[in-house]
Subunit: 187 residues, 2 copies
């Protein structure tokens, strides 16, 4: 599977000869992988790989960047902030609803709410009509935190997307939107 050159340890990625030489390591790898997949017999679907790889890589970089640069310094995490933000817009909400709209499991919500509650940013309240249920609500401190973090996160997102023009950003959003709307049903 591997050419002889690949076996030298510490070599890093061999970029295809036509790739720009100053690409970051992850994109050099992606270009190399694309070429290797196309050269297989039978050829693999290099397009599907590239699309999925770029999508996941971008999301991962963006998540890590927002988390380390914005939220951790404020004593938050990105999942914690996202929950806080939903509570800000929606008001007191049951964990099961938060799980639905966040594509998280109920237990993940439980954990995240525990962390927020420890930090004094959110609180649980019983629901009189349903003995099983609980609603999670923002505290005053939580609302202040979400306002400040939201402003910073928006600024950082704008930096990430500044390389695209307005029309391109809209096209990108529309394409992502279509995939989300037409997502495979058996999820």
């Amino acid at each position: 599977m591997s050419s002889e050159r690949d076996n030298r340890p510490g070599l890093g990625v061999n970029p295809p000869p036509d790739a720009p030489p100053d690409l970051p390591p992850d994109l050099r790898y992606a270009a190399y992988a694309r070429e290797r997949l196309a050269a297989m017999s039978p050829p693999a679907d290099a397009e599907a790989f590239t699309l999925a790889y770029h999508l996941l890589q971008l999301a991962s970089l963006l998540v890590t960047d927002l988390e380390t640069r914005i939220h951790r310094p404020r004593g938050l995490t990105l999942p914690g902030f996202r929950l806080l933000f939903k509570l800000w817009l929606l008001g007191p909400t049951q964990p099961v609803r938060l799980a639905e709209i966040s594509a998280m499991s109920r237990s993940a919500v439980t954990n995240a709410v525990n962390t927020l509650e420890r930090g004094g940013l959110a609180e649980r309240r019983p629901v009189p009509e349903d003995g099983r249920a609980v609603v999670v609500a923002l505290t005053a401190e939580g609302e202040a935190a979400v306002r400040a973090a939201f402003a910073e996160q928006t600024r950082r997102e704008q930096e990430w997307f500044a390389c695209l023009g307005q029309a391109e950003r809209e096209r990108l959003t529309a394409l992502l939107s279509r995939i989300l709307r037409d997502r495979p049903a058996d999820l």
Copy 2:
């Protein structure tokens, strides 16, 4: 911040009146949030929010889907598979290189390789020229596993992206690519 209606527990998301009524809960929330942000004073950047939200949501759904549907049933994880796949293309590689191209920390690579090694899918080998270094290499079993899982993952990715035409997929890849290439330098 919240209208009176939002305070009814267990209500779920109030979609904007013009949103299609059969949207999944996460997209109903996105449409509602977009409207609320635009209505703030001063108005928040609803475009940046929507783009970032759709990007992260799609990535998260895709990751969860691939993980639960393809890799977990095979005794793998998605990060484990991605490492195996890189080793398949690159041959024996140092953890530090894997961390670079994967946007992971070195300790995350250590953990993932530990799991792969426990499963007999990869192994560590010392590097004679450098007493600190190690290379991670696929075992025969690991190569068989990555071949099989790759075929399945490609099929599933094709299902996810089937709602777009060839030209749309290429436009999407190109847009994601641009953001990755022009990513903020101070990462």
